[in-house]
């Protein structure tokens, strides 16, 4: 039932895409396309939630694709959970784009690709055989690539597009090999037959690493993330939100589908690998983010961080499952899935906010913004809620899911293996570090962009975003608050998916009374209630305001800022993104990025300005990408010789190739 519904929605999205292509320059095209996308995604969302509540599995085989295979589609609780996330993000981005898209320089360029991109992401999640999966995966990659490069023609965008397409192809290649191993020698490409036959230890390990490479590069795990902060910000903001908030989740889905579902039992050591990869990703993601002064790039790096948090949850779930602790595994899996939803909500919100800022000022560089809270109070409010949510502050949703991951890590003394017992708390400490760094980073992002005084004329002349964009932002802000206050509702909803992955579920949270607490596992007494915290905060705020109203002197006077008696009139004396991060850079980046600060003072009498430079060294780029790129360039230069040969030599080469192949064939058989 639900699979048919979702596929109909996919067909409708593809239809919208085809219809939008010739009409994209018409004045109504923007409204019609995004409106239709929002409606179709809302329909798909309702199918997904219905499937999740009913926790039913429905399958469908269409006579498309490979003639002997057909195309298998299936919606099970895991797919339903991710369909819900994809389409929730789809609805939000479409509504935002209804308002935002009108202000773009060339909205018609991206218009046909957005419905196709949404359709591709839905297809990946419902695919139930390797052929359908890889086809939709590649379709999703190519449409998102088109969205990145079609936007504008700057050299930076083209470079982002190049890096992205190379990384996307590499990822697909890795997934192709992973499915090849899973399919076995008989070429069983349907997921149902992959599930049926198990793999040896070596093959399992190979598939896990290939999945980390293939799905992980799309999700943005360190050090494969390098394309992400280039490509995500280059696209228009609704697309950035979709790529960062939703497409990375489809990649997480691919990882879960392959590793949890298709692979069967997994050794605990591989769980350790996933925890380790997630931890490093979380820490490096947030450290990179702290060094940025481009608002959208900062947000893209935070996606890397949050993907790391999700992978830590998944790794814990794998490790617990390998040891047979299904209740703890269910807790970790639920935490990871809840964080998937939460991240898609607040990251979309933050990208919308960044888009609204870019629209109003034409700037993405925080060091040229400032003081926007006066011109854009509502955008600032929504962005603030998103910033607090991503910084894992109670009572918002980011805290609820990170709390669950911490609780899962606290169950680590149960592990019989020493490695896991030590790794889990260490990784919890690093998650706490990355949460604290994220809070610092968002104080910086919000403070430098929205607070203080305007640093440029563009920031001075900004005006508030339009009502539809604001509605989308506040809808997501509401979702962040709601999921933070009654997380039990969401964990209940995600329980069938966690049960599908780990055969157990976390205790059902009593929904009749949402103020009762979130319980991680039945045996422990730990509990957290976002509802009570929020209620207490509201009561305390009300009491404090009332007391101030009754007892305090209410006279308020506006005056110049005091600033220890020496206020400087130039807004350039304010803290910038770089100066705010300077203490943290000194503490962490000296090691992580070999940050070097140099001050060049002119000789006395010289009127030249003094210069302060910071040099950062990107380990992922320098150690992984640059050598590979250099090797490719070197080989290309050498192979280039073959381009200018005479026809005789080409014919000779064909002849020798033929002889060589025939010899090999003769020796082989």
């Amino acid at each position: 039932m639900s699979v048919t519904g979702v596929l109909l929605c996919v067909a409708a999205l593809l239809g919208i895409s085809v219809a939008a292509a010739p009409n994209s320059r018409k004045p109504w095209a923007n409204f019609a396309t995004y409106g239709a996308c929002a409606l179709v995604c809302a329909a798909a969302l309702s199918f997904a939630v219905a499937a999740l509540i009913g926790s039913d599995t429905s399958t469908l085989i269409l006579p498309l694709g490979l003639p002997w295979l057909g195309m298998h589609f299936r919606v099970d609780p895991l797919a339903a959970a991710f369909l819900a996330v994809v389409n929730f993000g789809g609805v939000a981005a479409s509504v935002f784009a209804l308002g935002y898209g009108r202000h773009e320089s060339a909205p018609q360029r991206v218009l046909p690709f957005i419905p196709a991109f949404l359709a591709g992401m839905n297809l990946v999640v419902v695919a139930d055989d390797a052929f359908a999966f890889l086809l939709s995966w590649e379709f999703m990659s190519l449409t998102s690539w088109a969205l990145v490069v079609s936007h504008d023609r700057s050299a930076e965008t083209l470079r982002a597009g190049l890096v992205y397409i190379v990384m996307a192809s590499l990822g697909t290649l890795a997934l192709l090999f992973a499915f090849g191993i899973l399919a076995g020698p008989d070429g069983q490409y349907a997921f149902s037959s992959m599930r049926a036959h198990g793999l040896g230890a070596d093959a399992t390990m190979a598939v896990l690493f290939l999945a980390l490479l293939g799905a992980g590069s799309k999700a943005g795990i360190f050090p494969l993330h390098a394309w992400l902060p280039l490509a995500h910000p280059a696209a228009p903001s609704q697309v950035s939100a979709l790529m960062s908030g939703v497409m990375t989740k489809v990649a997480v889905y691919a990882f879960i589908r392959i590793v949890f579902d298709l692979l069967g039992p997994i050794d605990w050591r591989l769980g350790m690998v996933v925890i380790g990869v997630g931890t490093v990703t979380a820490l490096y993601g947030v450290l990179y983010a702290l060094m940025q002064h481009d608002l959208k790039r900062l947000l893209a790096y935070h996606t890397v961080e949050n993907i790391g948090i999700i992978f830590v949850g998944l790794g814990l779930a794998l490790a617990f499952r390998a040891n047979g602790f299904v209740a703890a595994a269910a807790l970790a899996a639920t935490a990871a899935l809840f964080h998937v939803f939460n991240h898609s909500a607040f990251k979309s919100l933050l990208f919308f906010g960044a888009g609204a800022v870019q629209n109003a000022t034409g700037e993405r560089d925080m060091d040229r913004l400032g003081g926007l809270i006066h011109a854009m109070p509502r955008t600032a409010m929504a962005f603030l809620i998103g910033a607090a949510a991503i910084s894992a502050l109670p009572p918002l949703n980011g805290f609820a899911s990170e709390w669950l991951i911490f609780q899962a890590a606290f169950l680590s003394p149960a592990f019989p293996q020493w490695g896991l017992r030590l790794l889990a708390p260490a990784s919890a400490a690093i998650l706490a570090l990355s949460a604290a760094l994220a809070a610092a980073c968002f104080v910086k992002a919000f403070g430098v962009t929205f607070l203080g005084r305007a640093r440029s004329d563009a920031a001075k002349l900004a005006c508030e975003a339009d009502k539809i964009s604001l509605a989308a932002m506040f809808g997501l802000a509401g979702a962040c608050i709601f999921a933070g206050i009654v997380p039990g509702y969401f964990t209940n909803l995600l329980a069938p998916a966690a049960q599908f992955l780990t055969t157990a579920r976390i205790p059902a949270q009593p929904l009749a009374a949402p103020w009762t607490s979130l319980l991680p596992v039945a045996a422990s007494h730990n509990s957290y209630s976002g509802f009570v915290i929020a209620a207490c905060l509201i009561v305390a705020t009300a009491l404090a305001s009332l007391a101030m109203h009754l007892f305090a002197n209410r006279a308020t006077r506006r005056s110049a800022a005091w600033d220890c008696g020496y206020p400087d009139t130039s807004p350039l004396t304010q803290y910038t993104a770089g100066s705010f991060a300077q203490p943290i850079r000194r503490v962490f980046a000296t090691m992580a990025f070999r940050a070097r600060e140099t001050v060049e003072m002119p000789v006395p009498g010289d009127a030249a300005p003094a210069q302060f430079r910071v040099r950062l060294w990107d380990p992922a780029w320098e150690l992984l990408y640059a050598p590979v790129a250099a090797a490719v360039n070197f080989l290309a230069d050498r192979i280039n010789v073959f381009q200018f040969l005479t026809i005789r030599r080409y014919l000779g080469m064909v002849f020798f190739a033929l002889v060589f192949l025939l010899t090999v064939l003769a020796l082989w058989t």
Binding site: I373, F406, A436, N553, Y575
Partner: protein, 316 residues
């Protein structure tokens, strides 16, 4: 339900009333140790009432966030302080928030405070916000590591349960708890902006952290911020008292006698805590800002060590 609300109200009023007194005792004790007479221990109350009577000045370009932040910071700190058991294990809403949630609430308050520091667009606000967040980035993981070592000992992250476990005779001698105690004390010093991390008595530009964020505040806003700061100190002293010396804390639904002795014991613990803090502060010099990470890093290492010790040997 009524009992819960009543206990909550008792806790809330108690921390609110006692917090300035604790700050006053620390200040007086410091003055005496420096051979000054110092102000009365009730001076912080007078300061707050004086601030409340005064006109509030707000900078021209301050936004609604600057005006709302004191109330939010106060409310978040107040809720967090209310959730820490003081003289009884029954804090009303112990189930709503464990130790991680309390740390989270303090992080929320800090988030609001740092943003308020940036709002007026002055360089001092920026310096304070930036340094405060830098200190927090190390103090928070250290705190979590310490919580983890406690959770390993007691099997829970709920504060009343941890305290109840420490109080119980099964405990014996635990080195991991001792390490955690030292770690907690260091975090408390750092988080409350005391010497050697920050000097609460100075307006010397280059060294201030917390005061720099409050520089633009005045009148009722400043009163709320000062009260929140005092409550945070009370919170940490109560936290250390209830986790590491939980003896004498009244059980839930105890007798009146038990409550009275528990209350007096709590007062005694606060007094000792204040004197120890004052002693510590007068015997040590303020550190350079960039040495602070090393100081808090020690707390992080202590937390790791405590957790490791507990993992390696179940008995310690």
């Amino acid at each position: 339900m009524i009992a819960t609300v009543f206990m909550l109200a008792v806790q809330a009023i108690l921390v609110l009333l006692l917090a300035p007194l604790l700050t006053g005792i620390v200040r007086t004790a410091k003055a005496r140790l420096l051979r000054r007479r110092g102000p009365s221990v009730f001076q912080p109350y007078r300061d707050i009432f004086r601030l409340l009577r005064k006109e509030t000045v707000v900078a021209h370009n301050a936004s609604w966030l600057f005006v709302a932040a004191p109330t939010f910071v106060f409310a978040a700190t107040w809720v967090a302080a209310t959730l820490v058991p003081t003289f009884t294990f029954d804090v009303g809403l112990g189930a709503a928030a464990d130790l991680i949630a309390i740390v989270g609430l303090l992080a929320s308050a800090r988030f609001g405070l740092a943003l308020a520091g940036l709002d007026t667009g002055t360089s001092f606000g920026g310096i304070g916000a930036s340094r405060e967040m830098m200190i927090a980035t190390i103090a928070e993981p250290a705190m979590l590591m310490l919580i983890f070592s406690l959770a390993l000992v007691a099997g829970t992250t709920r504060l009343p349960d941890i305290a109840f476990f420490v109080q119980s005779p099964v405990l014996g001698l635990r080195i991991s708890l001792l390490l955690a105690f030292v770690g907690f004390a260091m975090i408390a010093v750092a988080e409350n902006g005391r010497i050697p991390v920050d000097n609460p008595a100075t307006h010397l530009e280059l060294t201030m952290v917390h005061e720099a964020m409050l520089l633009e505040y005045s009148g009722r806003h400043l009163a709320l911020m000062e009260l929140a700061h005092a409550m945070k100190l009370l919170l940490y002293v109560s936290l250390i008292a209830v986790v590491f010396v939980p003896w004498g804390v009244a059980p839930a639904r105890g007798s009146l006698m038990q409550f009275t002795t528990a209350f007096l014991m709590y007062g005694g613990k606060l007094y000792i805590g204040a004197i120890v803090l004052a002693l510590f502060e007068v015997t040590i010099a303020k550190m350079r800002v960039f040495r602070v990470p090393q100081f808090i890093g020690v707390a992080l290492m202590l937390g790791l060590l405590a957790a490791l010790l507990r993992l390696v040997s179940g008995g310690l």
